[in-house]
Symmetry: C3
């Protein structure tokens, strides 16, 4: 059921991230900024957070990947993101979009669509409500939490993937990743991720790191989510609640070895010529 | 000495929060934003942090309660808070004001008073210096820490409560909560809360969640502080210092059961026709 | 090899900080703001973060020290820092500059140099790349991480110290602190500090607290770094990775006693009339 090749690739990608130590430039929300920076360091990547319009182009030119995360958005932030995104496009630096709160406010929905239209986004990761809101379907998420099933959002994701030539990742109990033709389902993770802020933002950051070492963005995305999910499983085993879980998740990302990761990986893959 | 009805109500309110999962919209400071979001999730509520002037009205319209916290304030932030606060008022969404640093700078004191004058604030929670500074008495707090006793601020709180038709909560070793007629004294808590940033901000956030499930805002406030205090006592027992305490406090909020809460509750109530 | 007088002074300075409870006003980046505030509280200092142009002068006038940290910089932030810095200068409140990302972008490098030129900076603390970038040498740091050795940056630090009448501190496996004549090398610390965000920012904050109790800024800086380093060693012993390390480091700062600190201190001092 679970793909052994993908399990092996998860371990390889993690190894490559630790060797390459990619610099991920994040223009991201104030709420989870600290945690996602810590998560990137724990993965073996390095992190720079910079959102000043005066410096984002220069900063992204030093980076290996760019994250655009729409939490705590303002118009000024949208401008900085657009600037950084255009520069990343010119330099073929991969961009990951996290449309936090898309569907909740016009500013978020409109900005997410603008970036999808104007920038070379490689991966979009969100929860079902957010992804549905991008696909022209009506969806009013309750805050940043999901009210829709991953399955319900899967079709929207596939359409968006094809239309945008991007990878769409829908987070849920089982993560759904698609390029519109091939799909991966990642069965790793822990319920504790729903009891902490920033689990989604962290997934987005780890995806960005993995994109820098794998030329197949679908597989980069799926293996990144798998790595985070296996780490979450390990962390949950030694946690007493969401506070200790957050600390232990960083520990688990940091300590993960390739064997544990590939043994724990639960990735299904379907579609494409190799996976009819 | 301690009120059994209030102890029982604390457990009931917690249960209701977990069932309702109220969305608390916080326009709050950058320092403790992450922790208060985590605390809301740990309570069973959900959290959205959004401060863009372009979207605060839309966001608050999705919310069950609004927090206005004056830490790391700027004029732009004051504008966003006023907009969100007016919209909350129209929709009868309860507002909690945390006048962080009132008395320390003109911007903070002036903004707190402006909100008290112009918005329908249901609860104001602060430390003694902050509350005193709102009552026209001179008080220069040393940063955001308290230099005045809760007792000293109690009289100011009662006057402010009457004048503003609001609940005033003064945090301290014993928390003091009043509507100007009835008063609650909450004897729960831990000294470790003074060794971490954001204990006050967290109290404010939890109050907001409790306000959404209890039509009596005095009791909502007192039971919220009691819940946080009992959780802090549990967390302190298994902590080695403020770092582990912060993690363990989230764990304790998350794991708290009704029986533990009502057994641990130490709320005094006085005043009003039932409590002469 | 290690100086006993400095070891003793580290313990004395810590005791004095706990007695004085200095208020440290930080205008600092959004990424590590929460952690550095917690670290200051754990030391026994108190912390206020405020960056609104409308209030920074008033806020710094209440403070015992000012931190200017260039992470997540914008032009508006530079203005607020300049205002606060001038007010601190007038009031002889010590200023510590942390030139995060200097060398990475023009905004950062230019702003750091502007502050060095226009303000009375008492201490500048950075990683080797950042310090090198300030000394007119070319250095493109990879994000905010260091690519240059402390030794390589030592000469630049000495020149900068002389030219700016300031203490220069270069963080690394061994921290290097100089006033251009005397130099201290602090051999305390843990590798785990490289796996968390904000270790440098935390060092800067602790230095600011120590400056308020020691009239010799070189010794204040070296003993602050020593205290943080010994705490990190203790924390690493009981950590499973960077997540638990961050929590345990706050615990260790909070619990540190003078004897443990002076026994663990590994400070070399050289130069000056007493240390030929």
């Amino acid at each position: 059921m679970f793909d052994k090749g993908m399990a092996k690739k998860a371990a390889e990608n993690l190894k490559r991230v630790r060797e390459k130590k990619p610099l991920v430039h994040s223009i991201t929300n104030y709420v989870t900024m600290n945690y996602t920076a810590d998560a990137l360091l724990a993965c073996g990547a390095s992190a720079v957070m910079a959102h000043g319009e005066e410096e984002v182009e220069e900063m992204v030119s030093l980076a290996d990947a760019l994250v655009l995360n729409l939490g705590t958005l303002t118009e000024a932030r949208v401008e900085a993101m657009a600037k950084a995104g255009r520069e990343a496009g010119k330099r073929r630096i991969p961009i990951v979009l996290d449309p936090v709160g898309a569907g909740a406010t016009n500013l978020r929905t409109r900005s997410a669509r603008k970036f999808m239209r104007e920038l070379s986004i490689q991966v979009i990761r969100g929860n079902p409500s957010e992804i549905l809101s991008l696909s022209q379907l009506m969806a009013k998420p309750k805050g940043v939490e999901s009210m829709h099933s991953v399955d319900e959002a899967g079709r929207a994701a596939s359409e968006l993937a094809k239309a945008n030539h991007a990878i769409l990742a829908v987070s849920g109990r089982v993560d759904f990743v698609t390029d519109g033709i091939r799909t991966c389902r990642v069965h790793n993770g822990s319920e504790m991720m729903g009891a902490m802020t920033g689990a989604g933002c962290t997934a987005t950051a780890v995806i960005a790191a993995f994109l820098t070492v794998d030329s197949d963005p679908l597989e980069a995305t799926a293996t990144a989510l798998c790595y985070l999910g296996v780490a979450a499983e390990k962390a949950a085993e030694v946690s007493q609640g969401p506070g200790t879980f957050k600390a232990r998740l960083l520990d688990a990302l940091y300590r993960m070895d390739g064997e544990t990761l590939s043994l724990g990986a639960k990735i299904e893959i379907a579609g494409g010529k190799d996976n009819p």
